[in-house]
Symmetry: C2
Subunit: 202 residues, 2 copies
């Protein structure tokens, strides 16, 4: 009996190093599957169907949308993007964990449709550090810098909708914390109870 | 600002190696405080007040009991034992985690009075292994063996009242899982939210 996989949803304001954490987490945990989005955007050279994206015509996408086939979706620059429910479900049933990096709006859509996911929010260690990271290249105008700081702070107010806060001070610490969270979640009685009662009732 | 410590409550049927896990966990995490029980039992040579136990007269114990000063209590061979609420609270406020190893009846009393604790249940990896461990010394009569197996299986039915199931296949794995659970719990938004909102609202 294989325990079902876990859908890990990761969000966080820009400037928190979210993508670096996701990349390092997958490198250290190659058995975890990155979620593959569906999109109406045309494939770029080198992009592979089912690996980078599931490419759909707009008609196909709309049809799937009406079938409630996406855990979340959004329109970006006129193209549709969505997280295929079926792809995620198949991985989880095979016992594979799935990682989805997504903005707070998308994460809240997923939460409504798939509440058994684990929702992580990446945070910078401090206000000063957030400022430093956003200003990293030193190329932003003061107005742009202020706009990005405000937008990051607004994002942080979404923290209350997540399960775990992951501070990104050092990437390896943040990755290890996510590994701990995943281990703990797998051991939670809510998720493992069925397995254990079966083991000891035979 | 120090994050408050966590009360970790550990139970599990006999034969699961619970005490070995607790001992190894404390060895690897010396900053975690073992809970110190209050008792009406007389101190034995070498036992130190406040380290091994808080020694009370029966009058004192009864008085404290009426003041609701214990997170749980029990009578064993005519002596009272209890977990002093104040001692636990002081440690947690100082940011220290407290570990309490206790039977399922005691754990359920603690859960009612201190639901923010983290409740762990230690499990043997399988029915066969439980049998092997209980029969370890080979000195039990068949009746005694059956009684101990039944009592262990009855205990396992309490699993649903706990937060996490910790399989004790190898002690070091079980200890690492408890460390992961503790890290994850500290990062849970429920526990850390106040800290983060304060950090980013200043």
């Amino acid at each position: 009996m294989t325990q079902e996989g876990i859908l890990i949803v990761i969000s966080g304001p820009s400037g928190t190093g979210k993508s670096t954490i996701v990349k390092e987490f997958i490198r250290r945990n190659p058995s975890v599957q990155l979620s593959v989005s569906a999109t109406t955007r045309k494939a770029r050279p080198g992009e592979v169907e089912g690996i980078n994206y599931f490419f759909h015509s707009e008609d196909e996408f709309q049809k799937k949308l009406h079938q409630d086939a996406f855990l979340e979706h959004a329109v970006v620059y006129g193209n549709y993007y969505g997280t295929p429910r079926e792809f995620v479900r198949e991985q989880l049933e095979r016992g594979k964990d799935v990682l989805l990096e997504i903005d707070t709006a998308g994460a809240m859509q997923v939460r409504k449709k798939f509440s058994q996911g684990v929702f992580l929010f990446i945070l910078p260690p401090s206000m000063e550090e957030l400022h430093r990271r956003i200003n990293h290249r030193g190329t932003e105008t003061p107005e742009e810098l202020e706009r990005r700081m405000n937008s990051a702070l607004e994002e942080i107010l979404h923290l209350g909708n997540y399960d775990y806060a992951v501070m990104n001070d050092h990437v390896s610490d943040a990755v290890q914390l996510i590994e701990s969270i995943l281990k703990a979640e797998k051991a939670s009685v809510v998720r493992s109870r069925h397995y254990w009662l079966k083991t000891f009732s035979s």
